[in-house]
């Protein structure tokens, strides 16, 4: 009988499961070494950003490791925001290079913000490799409380 021994079939599937999980693990390791993990590539040519809407203002957070405030430029017009930067290559003199991964030194990224911001009152600061920008909304785009009569 072909499927006489269910235990054998069960065992076969068990083995497949095991193989599957082993392969997953191998592929994960592989992706990690090459930096292919789609969620966590740091090899992007532009810094990753987060944008939060805090009612009265927007807050943009960007990852800019190795950039000091002199290395960054921010331009704003209406709801258009442009952040650019150039990182000095920090290879010390007289050293030979064994490994270079932090290659990106120049970037430009532009955004369309959800609403107009008051460019005169924008504050930006760099700390610990994060660029934080506080972008106050213009009067017209601020949230308004409507009283029900």
């Amino acid at each position: 009988m072909m499927f006489g021994n269910w235990k054998d079939i069960d065992r076969m599937f068990g083995t497949l499961d095991l193989l599957n999980s082993r392969m997953d693990r191998v592929m994960n390791e592989f992706n990690k070494t090459l930096g292919y993990d789609p969620n966590w590539t740091v090899t992007d040519s532009v810094p990753r950003t987060n944008l939060y809407d805090k009612g009265e203002h927007f807050e943009i957070l960007a990852e800019v490791p190795g950039f000091s405030k002199e290395d960054l430029n921010v331009k704003i017009q209406g709801n258009y925001l442009e952040v650019s930067g150039t990182r000095k290559i920090d290879a010390p003199e007289g050293y030979c290079c064994l490994r270079t991964e932090r290659g990106t030194t120049t970037f430009l990224r532009s955004f369309t913000l959800p609403s107009d911001v008051d460019s005169a009152r924008v504050e930006a600061m760099v700390e610990n490799g994060f660029l934080t920008m506080r972008l106050p909304k213009t009067e017209a785009s601020k949230p308004k409380q409507i009283t029900i009569s």
Partner: protein, 128 residues
Amino acid sequence: MGERTDLVKRDKTHPETTRRIPKVRPLVDIYECDNEILLHADMPGVKKEDIAIDIDNGKLHLSGVRGIKAEGAANWVEFGDVEYVRSFSVPQTIDLEKINAELKDGVLRLHLPKSEAAKPRQIEIKAA
């Protein structure tokens, strides 16, 4: 049945965790000169006190946790809390006592000085 349990055994030994932070490998540059090996690692947003550098048995283990204070409604989020983790093999010639590190603008700079015995030496040839 004994064989079967052996085949389908899985790793379920991890203790229960309430919240898992993704682990990321930071990008590094490594430089070497006659006196030391220098390692630069990009770790944006990590504070000095959240970095741990352990050296044990020729392995250098680098770990830095960053947390983001996020308030308000997120319009888009491209990054979040992560743990930067990476391990390296350290050659025997490194003087473990003198290792030092600095953190500036989200870049960790780790100096691994070579021990005196490992530095290149010029041998003078004596005239016979």
